[in-house]
Structures are given as structure tokens and as C-alpha cells.
Amino acid sequence: MAKFLPLSQAVADNLNNGDTVAFEGFTHLIPTAAAHEAIRQGFRDLTLVRMTPDLVYDQMIGMGMAKKAIFSYAGNPGVGLLRRLRDAVENGFPHALEIEEHSHAAMANAYEAGAAGLPCAIFRGYRGAELARVNPNIRSVTCPFTGEVLAAVPSVRPDVTFIHAQKANRRGDVLVEGIIGIQKEAALAARRAVVTVEEVVDNFNDLHPNLTVLPNWSVTAISVVPGGAHPSYAHGYYVRDNASYLEWDEIAADRDRFSAWMQKNVIEKSADDFAARVEQLRNVA
């Protein structure tokens, strides 16, 4: 049953050094506040799983928290490269980073298989793709009915998944709408699921019955963090801060500038600071 907790406690209770953890969100609803809380608590040796690592993994890798990254697109979407991740892969700074690289199709299937309790995912993929040569976790199976050779990858089963959602009701059921991405699968694939939400409402009685809902008994902890996806966005609440994504490219390009930015904007801040960051981005519609 979901427990409502302050974010600092939800993170402390559910994340451990050495865990395999997914902070998921496919461009939309990225759990930035949860990631920053994990950074403040200084976890180490994490295996970070995510389709599109994005800024929060660039930050966690740059802060030396990651032992390994499992991903399918290590870019700043629409802007370019992730410069802290590059520094780790190209120069071993701040330390070497093991990578397990997939395609989006593989990761999406692997999360779905994890949510379905399967050991692996099977799909038609990686044909002619060289990732299959460099990643030993990309293998193949032959369909017992048709003989077709299909790709197989291990399912993703994180110790804990963090996601951000629009709202929870007082019972702790969680609603996600808009670009729903991979969050439902990532939450159900994990042993523990921690959700940050924009707000808590009394009930979901007047909502469309098919909106994505995680029932309270499938969620471990919920923390209310308005603005907690910034600079990503929460559909219906505030827009994507594209300028911040462009700015990150310059911040992350320089090791010292990165450290100074992290100190000022993450280490010395708290989850309560997110609401003010989206004030100018609230929907005008």
C-alpha cells in the first residue's frame, strides 16, 4: 500500500548503494526532483537504467554515482550530446562507466517483459545492427512455430523505479496522462516504485476511466513535489523548459562549471524549490 512520505524519506527508504534503479520518463514527466534528492543523499555504485538518460543521469554520472548505465539513447533530446556521460565514457572522468547499450525497441520490450514477470523479451529487432556484436546481452531465439530468428534481451527488473506523475488521490492511486512513455511498465517491473506527484486530489471519480492509473497497492511511496519534473514538463500543469535544455549543453561542457552548478542548484537546494522553477511555465491555456 502506498505511503505518503516526504521525498527525502521516500528516497532514503527505497534506494541503496549498489541498487539497479530506473528514473523513468520519456521526455515528459522526468522525475528530476527524485534524482536530485538521490544526488543530495550521495548514493554510490548505482546501475542506472533508462531509455533516454537525459540531464538527470548526466548529473548523476558527473557526480560519480554510477557504476553502470543501461540505455538506448544517451543524448540531450533535440540539443545534442550528454557531455558528462561522454566524459565518463571517453576519459573515465570522474571514473570509468560500464555501459550496456540497446535500441529503444529493445528497452521498451525489456521493461514490458519485466512488468510481465518474464525473464526476457522477444522481438523483431537488431537485424544488421552492430550493437548485437558489442553487447553480449543481445541474443536471438528461433520461433518454435515459424522458424523465424528473433532478437532476445533480458528483461529489466530494477530494485526501485522512480517516476513523476500528475496526481494521486487520497487512497494513493496514481494517474499519468499525456505522453505516457514507459512509466507504467517501469514501475511494475521494479521491486519498489516511488512516485512524485504534482498534487493530491480527493478522488478520480470524474476522470476518464482509461487514464493510466497505478493502483495504490502497486506503489511503494508517494511524495508530493509540485514542479518536480522541471525542466521536463507535466502535461496540463506546466510546459517544457526548452531553454534549460539548451543551457545544460554549456553547463555540462565544463567540469568546473558543472560542479559549481550542481552545488548551487542541487546540493544547496531541496525538493521544495521546484515549485518556484515552474511558476513562469504554468499553462496559460
Binding site: F26, T27, A74, A108, F123, V134, I180, E185, D241
Partner: protein
């Protein structure tokens, strides 16, 4: 801007937009493909179905998205599905007619590298990687590629096969059991290229206005083959140019945030 009144990049985007038809279901890569697909939608192909990998199907953005998951794509879409559904039912299920991709590195058989420059384990430059492209390249019925020509980008041998085109050429796709057509069109800032029917090597079939053969060769890392009868790409029309420039202006304003409070309904500034 050349003396013809448009830039090579504008010609590239507009030439690419013309290749799309109203009944196409197009899986759109970010960047140059996204601009071309939306110019097509705003000019001759209003009914085209544009799909972005974030799960937005039939989207009609007013400004070009910065990322594949900007809120504008969802707001204007016919429907938005989860990422696994996108890749399983819609792409792997064979419902995409055109996959439209860009490339960091491309070879003459349409193989694409967006993963690393140099060795994979010890790269000189670590690029973002494949994202959706490896399966878009093999599950879409056919593939269009668009990129500006440079010797660094168009190379004899790519450093990593992120997304499979025609492999070593000829029937390489069929030999791997891939039954889709693969790359059928390459649109650069200088020319239109199509694969040779037998060897599958990209061959220049049309030069953009004011472009000489030498210029195409100078900006390409392999020895360029030209078709026997070479056409000239029609120059952009006034409508095409205005549509593209208005779209870019709206996009630039939105991404800098200045249009934020003025734009009703946009969820990504």
C-alpha cells in the same frame, strides 16, 4: 542565401518534403526530417500521418518540437500511445510506410552511424546512439534519409553500423531475412540520390538548382556515381519557402521562450 533566393538547407528540406505523400504514415526522426515532414503537412500533404517515437500518432505541431516528446506533439495528436505499444504494434507491426532518418555518418549503401566515432569500446567521440533508429530502419516499409553533405558525414566506411541500410549492397537485406525495402531516397543539400536497382549504391539522380557535379563530389567521401540522365530539382516555390521560414521563425521564438506567454495551448513553449 545564394543568388537564387534560398539556402542549400532550405532546398534540402523542401526537396525532402516533396517526397512525402498525403497517404503516407511517416515515423519522424528529430532534426532535419522533422522540418521536412511538417513542411509536407503544411503544403501538399495535409492528411499525412506523422508519428514520433514518444507515442504520438497523427500529430500536427504548430512549431517544430525540440525533442521527440514535446507536449505540443501530444496536444495535436490523434492519439498518444505508450512507448512499448509504439514500437510493438505500430512499427514492428508493419504499419509505417516511411521511416525518415538523419545521420551523423552515412555510407554509399545507406548504412547509418549515430553511435561512436572511432572504436566502440574506446570512442574518440561518443554520440547519443541509435534510439529508435535500428528498428525503424528495418521495420518501416521504406526509408528516406536526409543530411547536409560533408566529407566527415558521407564516408567510404562508417565507424559503426547503428542502423542497417543495404549493408554491403546487392541483396544483403534479403540475406539477413529483412523483407522491407530499406533506404530508397537520400536528400542532401545538393542533390537527390536513389539506390542503383542492382548494386543498391546511392546514385545522384537530380542536382539542386545552381549545383555542379564537382561540388557534390567535393563534399562526399566516396566516389560519386551520377545517373546517365541527370535532372534538375525544381527550385522551391514561394509557398514552400514561406511555409518553411514561418515554421522556423515560430520554432526559434518558441524554443527561446519568448512566445511562451503569447501562445495559447502550447505545452512546450
Amino acid at each position: 542565401m545564394n543568388e537564387l533566393g534560398f539556402t542549400p538547407n532550405e532546398m534540402m528540406t523542401i526537396a525532402a518534403s516533396r517526397a512525402l505523400k498525403g497517404d503516407d504514415v511517416c515515423f519522424v526522426g528529430i532534426g532535419a526530417p522533422s522540418a521536412a515532414c511538417n513542411v509536407a503537412r503544411l503544403t501538399h500533404a495535409p492528411d499525412i500521418t506523422l508519428i514520433y517515437e514518444s507515442g504520438t500518432i497523427g500529430t500536427a505541431p504548430d512549431v517544430l518540437p525540440l525533442s521527440i516528446g514535446d507536449g505540443e506533439l501530444c496536444d495535436t495528436a490523434v492519439t498518444t500511445v505508450s512507448v512499448p505499444e509504439m514500437f510493438r504494434y505500430w512499427l514492428q507491426g508493419g504499419r509505417i510506410s516511411i521511416g525518415f532518418l538523419g545521420a551523423a555518418q552515412l555510407d554509399k549503401f545507406g548504412n547509418i552511424n549515430t553511435t561512436v566515432i572511432g572504436d566502440y569500446a574506446h570512442p574518440r567521440t561518443r554520440l547519443p546512439g541509435g534510439g529508435g533508429a535500428p528498428e525503424i530502419a528495418t521495420s518501416s516499409k521504406e526509408i528516406y534519409i536526409t543530411m547536409a553533405q560533408t566529407k566527415r558525414g558521407m564516408v567510404e566506411k562508417i565507424d559503426f553500423y547503428t542502423s542497417f541500410g543495404h549493408g554491403d549492397g546487392g541483396d544483403h537485406r534479403q540475406r539477413l531475412g529483412i523483407d522491407t525495402k530499406g533506404p530508397t531516397l537520400l536528400i542532401t543539400d545538393l542533390a537527390l540520390w536513389k539506390p542503383d536497382p542492382v548494386t543498391k549504391e546511392f546514385t545522384v539522380v537530380s542536382l539542386h538548382p545552381g549545383v555542379a557535379r564537382d561540388k557534390v563530389q567535393e563534399t562526399c567521401g566516396w566516389t560519386v556515381k551520377f545517373a546517365d540522365t541527370l535532372e534538375e530539382t525544381p527550385a522551391p516555390t514561394e509557398l514552400e519557402l514561406k511555409t518553411l521560414r514561418d515554421l522556423k521563425a515560430r520554432t526559434d521564438a518558441a524554443h527561446k521562450g519568448v512566445a511562451l506567454s503569447a501562445k495559447r495551448g502550447s505545452r512546450d513553449g
